[in-house]
Amino acid sequence: MTMIDFSLRRSPLAHRGLIARAASDAAAREAGVTLGEQPHRCQINLRGDAGDSGFLAAVEDVTGLRLPVEPNTVATVEDLSALWLGPDEWLIVGPGGREGDLTGGLRGALEGRHFAVTDVSEARTVIAISGPHARDLLAKGTSLDLHPRVFGPGRCAQSGIAKATMILHQLDANGDGADGAGADEQPTFEIYIANSFADYLWTWLERAAAEYRVAVTAG
């Protein structure tokens, strides 16, 4: 297997100098929407039979994650999450650098079963959207119903935004919001977007968010 030279990786938004543009914490707190890129996230596409308890147990042994079988939901344990993509398909995401041990561990644990483990980490980057107007911004570009009674923390969906295809994930409320606001008032979303669409979508998001006062964050 070819080793990945992590130092040579370049995010599809690297040319925008987003870290240099990052607003101060105070300015970010005042913003209606914050946007930031979280590049190089480990992303493993996993296919298998959700009805096979041995498959689920083997994945849990390796990742600690009980794969979600309820559509459009996410399971999270520490820094790993499993996003439901379909009745037999998940995206396991975590910090960059976990690609090798996760793919290797899963393939070993699932040997003999009907499964597919594919490292798709460099296919997409992640744009994080947060703030009181985050939902309003997304609603300009997607047909998903984002009302809190339908789409809340721990939910995900594959859909479109501004004509690009995305995976959307609303993070669990982390409880350390600046003013203690709940996930409904200060939601945080992550968009997984194909590298080739990332620059386009960033441009779209920043312009669409201008009316809400947008701040760039470092991550």
């Binding site: 459009n72 993509l85 379909g86 009745p87 398909e89 047909s143 594959q158 859909s159 479109g160």
Partner: protein, 93 residues
């Protein structure tokens, strides 16, 4: 635009789906025994009704699964959504 309830993901906008044309067309078990006319009928001829239509859709921007829909081609009313392999439900005219 109308909503289609994906049997896996729930209701989503039509733009997330791609159309798969008429459903429940079985591939002939023994194509070599067919005449050219019979083969052409299987390949090309479709009902194209004005009314209820059993058709296939793919949730292209979602879970990418195929499924069946019973849709009225005039009103776009969707009366049934069901998985591949399930028999077509009876629809009142």
């Amino acid at each position: 635009m109308f909503l289609i309830s994906c049997p896996f993901c729930g209701p989503r906008e039509e733009s997330e789906f791609s159309y798969g044309h008429e459903g429940h067309i079985a591939r002939p078990a023994d194509p070599d025994s067919l005449s050219d006319a019979e083969w052409a009928d299987y390949l090309f001829m479709r009902k194209n009704p004005k009314g209820w239509h059993y058709e296939r859709w793919n949730h292209a921007r979602g879970c990418r699964r195929w499924f069946n829909v019973a849709r009225h081609t005039v009103t776009h009313e969707i009366r049934a959504v069901y998985k591949m392999g399930d028999p077509p439900p009876a629809i009142e005219p």
